[in-house]
């Protein structure tokens, strides 16, 4: 197998699980024949070929087999049937700092961990200064790792793996490393590795990170490859699959609310262009938010607040309106407020709407609903990212050249 290539042919991996696992000899003899082992196929008939220099994303839900596939490629476990072949040195960042010994200094751990990852001592010595500088641990490298913060440990773990000069780099959800500046640095390092012709297999829940790094992605569903192609398409298929699965009851289950209760949000719904209730929209479609609210007698017209966040809890938009200006009438009855958007300016993803009722000044909280509504936006044609631009392209009229 040429360096940097990965070939997975019809690989399946079974895990034997017993209702009560035989962890002791007693269990082994007593349970023998009594509890039938259950076979769980973490991967079924998976074939993937990765050429040198490719960056391939693995996406799928929890339990879809991503990590199993990564461990097969890393050689940590073997396929039950089928074949997995790889060429060259594999650097695996399945867990940063795995195998660090807390009683040893950072320096000693660099050598130990490097050796475990397959480096010779001379090679580690050559790269030692670079590794320490990258991890920004010059001042702490001779201290015991037990005195490190978790961020420092992970930085050191990443730095060792990053300087392995592997042919293939396996990454499993590793971008939770340190602060944002360090994350950018890690990403930069990985990008550099890719530019230099290294092969990357990247597992992440963070679709944006996969899109930045990988042109191609494999979507796994219950252990099978359900899509293998451009990352954009894989990600949007993945989102669609997630959306189809969301149980209507789940909306209520995640509901969190608090507040003093003088005014309450009674109900909230989203409507499509035809006035029908929906939770899935196409980018650019008409979109209506309808909120039914009630206030006790004597409560001044409240202010309605809304916050829109994406799956990563980033604030996408925030709005508020004084209901008094809309003609809110004082009284113990319920009133319905509508918020209409002619063309939804969101591109794609899952969004969470948080609604709140406060007094006019915004200081007193009457009622606050987290995840009041969760909805999905599918890209209409070419949109990517979170936001959809409303704009038009044109070619400027030619100015005559003098």
């Amino acid at each position: 197998m040429p360096d940097g290539e990965i070939s997975v042919e019809n690989a399946s991996r079974r895990f034997r699980v017993r209702a009560q696992e035989a962890r002791t000899l007693k269990d082994l003899f007593v349970l023998r024949g009594r509890s039938e082992p259950i076979d769980i196929w973490a991967l079924r008939d998976v074939s993937v070929t990765v050429r040198r220099g490719d960056a391939v994303g693995l996406i799928g839900r929890n339990g879809s087999g991503k990590t199993t596939l990564l461990r097969l490629v890393a050689g940590i476990i073997k396929p039950t049937s089928g074949r997995v072949r790889t060429g060259g040195r594999i650097g695996s960042l399945l867990e940063l700092g795995a195998g660090f010994h807390p009683d040893f200094t950072g320096r000693e751990n660099v050598f130990l961990n490097g050796a475990i990852q397959g480096l010779r001592r001379a090679e580690i010595r050559e790269r030692f200064d670079e590794i320490v500088a990258f991890a920004e641990l010059e001042h702490a490298i001779d201290r015991q790792v037990r005195t490190y913060s978790s961020g420092m440990t992970m930085r050191l773990g990443f730095a060792i793996a990053a300087f392995l000069e592997a042919d293939i780099l396996l990454l499993d959800e590793v971008f939770a490393v340190g602060d944002e500046a360090f994350q950018r640095k890690c990403f930069g390092r990985i990008f550099q590795f890719k530019q230099a012709g290294g092969t990357i297999v990247f597992v992440s829940h963070d679709a944006a990170a996969v899109e930045r790094l990988c042109e191609r992605s494999v979507l796994l569903e219950s252990g099978r490859v359900s899509f293998d192609g451009p990352t954009r398409e894989a990600v949007s298929r993945y989102r669609r699959a997630l959306a189809d699965e969301i149980d209507p009851a789940e909306r209520g289950a995640g509901l969190r609310e608090w507040g003093s209760g003088e005014a309450t949000i009674v109900a909230a719904s989203l409507l499509g262009g035809e006035g029908e209730e929906r939770l899935q929209f196409l980018s650019g479609e008409a979109f209506v938010l309808r909120v039914r609210a009630a206030a006790a007698r004597g409560v001044a017209p409240p202010r309605l607040q809304l916050e829109l966040r994406d799956d990563a809890a980033t604030l996408v938009a925030g709005e508020s309106v004084e209901l008094g200006t809309l003609g809110w009438t004082d009284g113990p009855h319920e009133q319905t407020v509508r918020f209409e958007i002619g063309s939804l300016p969101l591109a794609e993803g899952r969004f969470h709407l948080r609604l709140g009722l406060t007094d006019e000044s915004g200081e007193r909280l009457y009622h606050w609903l987290d995840d009041a509504l969760v909805f999905i936006v599918y890209p209409g044609d070419d949109e990517r990212g979170v936001v959809r631009f409303e704009g038009s392209w044109m070619i400027e009229a030619k100015t005559p050249t003098p």
């Binding site: 895990f15 035989a22 962890r23 002791t24 000899l25 007693k26 082994l28 461990r71 890393a74 050689g75 940590i76 476990i77 073997k78 594999i90 695996s92 399945l94 867990e95 795995a98 195998g99 010994h101 009683d103 040893f104 050598f111 130990l112 050796a115 475990i116 990852q117 397959g118 010779r120 001592r121």
Partner: protein, 266 residues
Amino acid sequence: MTVYTDLFHYRELFGSLFRRDLRAKYKGSFLGLAWTLANPLILMAVYVAVFSLLWKASVANVDRYWLFLLCGLPAWVFFATSLQSSSRSLVENANLIRKVRFPRQLVPLAVVGTQLVAFVVMLGVVMVLALVFLPGSRGTVWLALPLGGLFVLLVSGVSLALASLNALYRDVEHLIAALLLPWFFLTPVLYGLDQLPGADSHPELEFAVHWLNFLTPPIEALRAPLFFGTAPPAADTIYTAVAAVVALALGAFVFSRSDDRIAVEV
């Protein structure tokens, strides 16, 4: 066979693991590595003090009982400590084994390596004592080295097999802990098999202690050149060599059969 040839290919990693285990054991202690030497010496001193000086135990036809005792002790201590520490080794390194690919058999073998240091110290001390106190042994003491080497192979194989099994069934290590003490008394360390007072009335018992306990032949073989100044008995020597080969094969077999499951189950 790659189970053991990897030891050569990955000798640097083996060295790193070995140093880690050796130093981790005494990390933070004042004497540090000196404990590796102090432990076996203290143990030997205690055995001599209790069994020879206080108890005045003796064995038929043996003058220096204390040295007789010391000649059998290193092999037993090496065996017992290796089994105990290596059986836990794969489980203790679970974090590493689940996340990184490397030849996993190096983990228990490196642990045996750390115990080997103490074995070498003890055997060295015994050889020196034999040279000093037993003029009759001066020509044969060196034979302890090849025999000791065979014994190391035997212990390595058994340790690898038990470490692999313990990764799958956690009470192997407890079973070992429970068996070691009775096993000690069934092994002729404190006594010799020659002219045992009860051997005539219970020949089958003596036979069992000699040939069913695979530790007896190597210990008998080691004691012959060290203490008695004779060549090791042929039967014991052949037994030891065969046992070493069988143990290595068994270790490799059990390990290869369970290697894949180890990564899943530890």
